[in-house]
Symmetry: D2
Subunit: 139 residues, 4 copies
């Protein structure tokens, strides 16, 4: 069951995380096990030479997981990232980045998700991350 | 394209890695992007209390990746594990473990795979790993 | 403060984890923030060609963390590995392996340690791991 | 041996990575095995509530490793992050962040570093990362 839909997540972001808005992603798809964020790459995400910055991909992986946690649990402000592991496989091409996060575990205290980052119309992955969140005990 | 099929991998294991045989896994499925190892859990894999040892799951993830590298590249004796990241999600139940490794990247020098470990007839994952191998430059 | 000293850890291992004994490590040093395990490499740890098996290093990193958790918290049978990340840097030489685990965090519910694996009389690291344990809520 | 000192790294950053400048870190210490970056936390790094954003810490870990690679190898523009693993241990307090990167391996093709992130006058770590870079074959 989803406790927040895309509109509610958007409103939450606008109010609580205006930086996320500046960063530039949008929620493209959402169901109980999966979320897709969409990030049109702009100048702020690039290294000279036109490569997308690694931290942009890490940030996107973290955000996708957080959005999915919120969608499932409601506005748990205190959910925090415990660990993040990311492998960078290919240099992203300019254009639109897609981050697909899927739940591997939604426990009482620990959430684990995997995130695949790819380009639009691009079959091969740019990066793969696993992200762990810790949930507050009393929510 | 596969350079080694299941029979050839089996023969390679018998000759070069008799310990793998003692460890007890079998190759259950193999195609170009995916391998499934099957490990019937026995006494040697258990902690007292009947829990499957964490290192058994790590070993299985590493082996699945290695078998898939061999299948794709032929008997590359010098392929070595560079890094392994594993998240343990659920306590495995006694029975048969399945490890499904899929290629995320097969580069000239780096191979990245993700491995999902589950039980037979068990929908939820026990563990998820990403494994990186380095390939020798001149093969 | 230590709740178990080396003798008590040894006794606990003998009783509860006879496999750990078969695996072959000994506790070499112990203080509040650090433990050193010592593993004389034997035939069971080797791949043909004389390389120490990657899973041997992973297992050693996991065990060192677990021993340090026990030393600090007492016999918490239900402490479980949540995640393990390991980088393999150099091929271990035959001889004695040392695993030095140090606490990065000892929280109420999460323990994080880093583990450095080296050889005796060997300045450079063979492997570096970070290991996360989860603690049961009511202990 | 260092191929670039702090001044040369600063000049390289100014020319090639003006974003790094916007991000705000400075090189505080540098020797052959170690670099310390210093980041005075400002509004751009915070989530509402005053928490430092996780991606800020990841970005800092990645940058510290990259600066150390440059210092040792000279301006290797094509060094790329292969993987990054980070554990978040404590909520950073507002003030100055320090990122201490140390080389675990400087190979021909792979560099591995560990990065400890703490606060100034703060004994306990906020985060611990291991970062792997791949080097171009012909440099």
């Amino acid at each position: 069951m989803l406790r927040m839909d895309v509109k509610e997540l958007d409103r939450f972001l606008d109010e609580a995380f205006p930086q996320a808005r500046t960063f530039g992603f949008e929620i493209d798809e959402l169901d109980e096990e999966h979320i897709r964020l969409r990030l049109p790459v702009s100048k702020q995400h690039l290294r000279p030479g036109g490569t997308v910055n690694g931290p942009v991909l890490m940030s996107l992986a973290d955000s996708a997981t957080y959005m999915l946690v919120l969608a499932r649990l409601g506005p748990v402000a205190l959910a925090v990232t415990v660990s993040l592991n990311i492998n960078f496989m290919r240099k992203p091409r300019p254009g639109v980045l897609l981050a697909d996060a899927r739940l591997l575990k939604l426990g009482k205290r620990i959430v684990v998700a995997e995130v695949r980052i790819s380009g639009e119309d691009e079959p091969e992955l740019y990066a793969h991350a696993t992200v762990t969140y810790s949930l507050p005990p009393d929510r």
